[in-house]
Symmetry: C2
Subunit: 286 residues, 2 copies
Amino acid sequence: MYGALEGGGTKMVLAAMDENGNTAERISIPTETPDKTMPEMISFFRKHDIRALGIGNFGPLDLNERSETYGSITATPKLAWRNYPLLQTFRDALRVPVGIDTDVNAAALAEARLGAAKGAESCVYVTVGTGIGGGIIIGGKPVHGLMHPEVGHALVAPLAGDPLPDGSCPYHKHCLEGMASGPAIEAKWGISAKELPRDHPAWVYETEYLAQMCVSITMFCSPEKIILGGGVMQQAFLFDGIRKRTSELLGGYISPLGGSLDDYIVPPGLGVHSGITGAWLLAMQA
Amino acid sequence: MYGALEGGGTKMVLAAMDENGNTAERISIPTETPDKTMPEMISFFRKHDIRALGIGNFGPLDLNERSETYGSITATPKLAWRNYPLLQTFRDALRVPVGIDTDVNAAALAEARLGAAKGAESCVYVTVGTGIGGGIIIGGKPVHGLMHPEVGHALVAPLAGDPLPDGSCPYHKHCLEGMASGPAIEAKWGISAKELPRDHPAWVYETEYLAQMCVSITMFCSPEKIILGGGVMQQAFLFDGIRKRTSELLGGYISPLGGSLDDYIVPPGLGVHSGITGAWLLAMQA
């Protein structure tokens, strides 16, 4: 049995899965403080006598294997988890190999191996929901480098008439998360994204910013697929608008795409299971 | 002897180099039409009886090895070279292995192996001159994927007061090349970049756009180094301003950088030789 953890800011999803990816048990617990949440998670994985653990966790994380704090959460605004040695605590308690990456890199890995980008060497997975985060696979592997991608805080150009042109992020003016996450939509228009009618102008702005993001991803990362998931993207009508506007903004510059972006900007092949499946893949690798 | 070609829109730089990188002969010829320029280049490489050829060429290029037109130039505005089968023509004429990549991916490769990013697994090399182009190394290899990165046509957010806020690119509103290349600077301010005094407001805008680019590179690619070269970056005073503004825009988000970006945003370690050195590396690999 292998352990998989998809660690989020509001809930932790834990699964025990066999080597074929069949799930023996899967639970979800609220993310409270490490003092309370860690022992619960450790006892779940102990109960299943796992051979290895894979973690896809909210960032930022220290993913530099040569670092003394490898596998720790770093400068998160979730103060109880700041500088928490996540990988090390699990490894010490469970005495099994532990693999770790960001939640979105794990989801991107799962989509590249088994999902919408199956067979591709590269893809970008972006979740648009409470926050915006992106994971990037290049050459079949998650991108790390200096740290790891932080797609949600890349800058976009405000569109004229935006009621909150600087966005709602406390750290960056007009970054993606501050301009296009679920809470940003609500801050701009005073209505929850879930309740906005389809013809509301909010969607014109949302489409513009997510299309600008797809242009940047194309220009900087040149992936074979861009996969958009998360709560906001449950509004499936957004896909056509984002593809159309991305194509306009690209100005015909990326010839392999031809006229249509239908196979380029796509929903996750694994639905809402990309993250936990990626964590299982990290366990198998570990 | 190995052949190296750095193919640019105005000139072709050709070199014959040994396996240690010592140059036997190096020439530069103007880029005219393939009919005229190709035979000159072929006879140079024949004269040196090269064992392999490496090409770093202006793009866009078809770098998909499974494509029938692998190694061709694609939708370039240089019409005489559009759809020209560059790799195949050299391979047929010289009957040696030929490696090819974009000029900037070749330069990035050279900087990662032998230059400012020596020892790093990842770096981004951007040339800011007549155009803006970027090459990206991740996991020690140039990034391809869908096509190859096209950093110059990524979007930036216009700064208030810019005399030409849409930029000068015919394909994209406010893309980097249209906002911050040498010709864009001249189009905006009516003075050549070389003649602009250091206290001219043009440099505030230039610094802003290149800093926005460095933020996007950091958020999307997470490289260990960003290397800025090309004619405009000969104005070495720009580096300090770009580092300072990038740090402000990052808002402390990328903790491994700490306070200083002095070792993160740097000039090329190989000076103006990154491109030809990268072409030589491609020949050695081929």
